[in-house]
Amino acid sequence: MNLTPAMLLLVSLCGYAIGAAGGMLLLRRERPANVWCFGVAALSGLSGLLAALLMLAGGTGTGIPQFELFRPLLPYIHFSVRLDALSAFFLLIVSLLGLAISLFSLGYAKGFFGRKNVGVLGALFNALLLATTTMFVAGDLWLFLIAWELMALTAFCLVSFEHEKAETRKAGVLYFIMSHIDAGCIILGFLLLFQASGDYSFTSLHDIGAKMSPGKRDAAFLLFLVGFGIKAGIVPLHIWLPAAHPVAPSNVSALMSGVIIKTGIYGFTRVCFDFLGTPPLWWGVTVLTVGTISAVLGVLYALMEHDLKRLLAYHSIENIGIILMGLGAALMFLHTGHPLLATLGLIAGLYHTINHATFKGLLFLGAGAVLHATHTRNMEEMGGLIKRMPQTAFFFLVGAVAISALPPLNGFVSEWLTYQALLQGFGTTESLMRLIFPLSGAMLALTGALAAACFVKAFGITFLAQPRSAHAEHAHEVSLTMRLGMGLLAAVCVVLGLFPTQFVRLLDPLTQQIIGQQLSAQLSLANGLVLGSLTAKGGTVSTLGLASMALCLLPIPFGLWWVFARKTKVRRGPTWDCGQRGLTPRMEYTATGFSKPIRMVFKALFQPHREVQREYDFSPYFAKNLRFESHVEEVFERRIYRPARILILRASRRIRTLQAGSVHAYLLYIFVTLLALLLFAS
């Protein structure tokens, strides 16, 4: 039997549907529900992964598989599914993450046994994967918007899964509101496009921007930027993200951070590069600026966090910013007529998209494993976990190195490509671009350094030194399936880092479809061992070379020890404790202490609130107790959202007088509305 991508895709979609249905049927039996739901989800993910790989590896020659869902049931509406290269790329991401996270969940969901209904969790998890996959492969507006909305609703249910906690309910409502604002913006934007095309299918919308008036085109762009930006979590529309990700079950946070926020990137890429046509300069400048601000602010706020999952959530904002920097640069190059450079920017952005999906999925799974073992998200109560959970610690370290953009892992490759795209913009002629590209590049460098600092903190405080609490003291390694899920993603991180030229080849059909250029041949130097950057003056890098160099250098210290120090006597003694006898975990560096220098440097931004109270009997110089309190509040929360909320509440109270409770008044409203509509229509 010949396996086609369309068939595998259909198997994957049906699999998720069956998994969800099984979860609902097995509500009262948690063990079978757990195995069924997450097992089926893993197999469906595998099927989708194969479909995407077949499609992308087929190159540009293969046709685009298309079919319709529910054909006999819906005589008038066509739900068409279309797997073009861009859809296939995002199908790859969702299926890969779906597979790994489902494996992880097989073990993780056992933590809910007897406490929460695992059947519901599994059913919703499958439904979320189904909606997201459908959204990525939708070939018309109807199916896209329906799947988009279903995705938002199931994600809301999953975020509110542990709804007995007030914090969770609050975050769920915030996510609900924000995701409806974004759906509203997107629907309005698509209506503007529909006005020009008169047809719902994505093929008819291709390059529709050329037929629209500039004003409407700009309006559509802004609506999409806000709509997809909320989903992606760009600053300042990100506030739902650090609230919702930590409170969700960890497998759901991994899925949300790995895939759901990427749906914003998918929508944005689809609309800007496929539908809206050649962009004016300010679109690219806006996207690049928004991306830069998101990257820098995301990592700065991440540094201030000591809740492990909130820290990772802020890093998602940072990485979305980096992705948008690549896409923004691509838009600017499209405007100036440099399709090759635009392709480079697009490749950088999309490469970072899949990289972020893998390492952030991995890190959230790692955080989930830590949470599973210690029952706390507060890093100040962790420590010493590397001795108790060595494999989890190793996988987390792989993710941390990848997200800090250190070679030879995947984060490094995509950020390097982003640098190349930005720096080559300096060579163009427009003065604005000559100014903005180096600035963004410098900001990206700052972001990378701060991210590395942040993960030194995240890894060091969580896993190293001695346990800071009884929770951490009694932690133990998690089950095999959980480690398997993390191990899969860690392996993907390494592969994507070591073989960039081979991976870029998979992107060829995508760039060919969107911009009409293929770069893999030009980027791949020395038989694919070295990654180039188009021009002779640009840099080249080989992660494979760096890795093998490291492997070669590794024996040298051992050799030196063997030659010179083998014979010397080893003396073991206690760590020097400055003369204060007995070091305790309370003397360890804390997460707050570690980030203090950065808090001081960026004081103008953070405006930290700190309070010190001394309790003493006779003189303040002999304090009995010290109480220190410090917290950082987000500037957007205070400056934008709080005034907006007050304003909206005040307006609502004004409007509420309309609800007088009098039937006659309500009838009057209906009458006036009818008259107005009649006059408007005539």
Partner: protein, 213 residues
């Protein structure tokens, strides 16, 4: 044919004004009932070929709108011991003025609409608009539940007039269905009126404001 049709529709428009000007509930009910009967005759004038169903529907309309529903309402009046005064929120003179303005406006408005040639010469569209507005005015301007039911009946008559435009397109069975809905609706309202009366000792819908939220 058009002459007779216009005469009947004009009669219905006049009954609107009568209903708006009635100060006592029985006369209001009577106005609504007569209007319903007048409109019940219309399908006979519009339909070109006379088959059994048309007769059945016309007879049923006249019977239900002219006798059954008014009967139900009168029974509710009797059993719930409701005063015969209408108690307007909007005075009779303003109501009448607004109703008259609506009739004039409806004629002017219908002239601006792109109608099919066979409807252009008739009063069907202006009559429908005027009756709709008259019904809405009664709904808004009267405080007693029974009076509001009458407003609702007249509103429905306006919709029915609109429906006559499509008489060749929609099967009469749809009209029959609407009629059934209406009867059941009034029947239910009759029961609710009785219950509200027993619970709150009043049928003044103004007192229902405390039920909000």
């Amino acid at each position: 044919m058009t002459g007779a049709l216009n005469l009947l529709v004009a009669l219905a428009m006049g009954l609107n004004l009568l209903a708006l000007g009635s100060s006592r509930l029985p006369s209001l009910i009577r106005a609504a009932a007569v209007q319903g009967m007048v409109l019940g005759v219309l399908p006979l004038l519009l339909e070109h070929e006379f088959h059994g169903l048309v007769w059945v529907v016309a007879a049923a309309t006249i019977a239900i709108k002219g006798f059954v529903i008014p009967g139900l309402l009168r029974r509710a009046l009797r059993t719930a011991h409701i005063d015969r005064e209408v108690e307007p929120l909007l005075g009779f003179i303003p109501s009448l003025l607004l109703g008259a303005m609506a009739a004039i406006g409806a004629v002017a408005f219908a002239g601006a609409l792109p109608l099919r040639p066979e409807h252009a010469g008739t009063l069907l569209v202006p009559g429908a608009f005027a009756t709709l507005v008259g019904g809405l005015l009664l709904l808004m301007g009267r405080s007693k539940a029974i009076a509001q039911v009458c407003g609702y009946l007249i509103l429905e008559n306006g919709i029915y007039l609109f429906g006559l435009l499509l008489i060749h397109a929609t099967p009469l069975i749809v009209e029959a269905g609407i009629l059934l809905d209406l009867t059941v609706g009034v029947f239910v309202i009759g029961i609710i009126v009785d219950r509200i009366q027993r619970e709150f000792d009043t049928l003044d819908t103004r007192k229902l404001t405390s039920l909000r939220e």
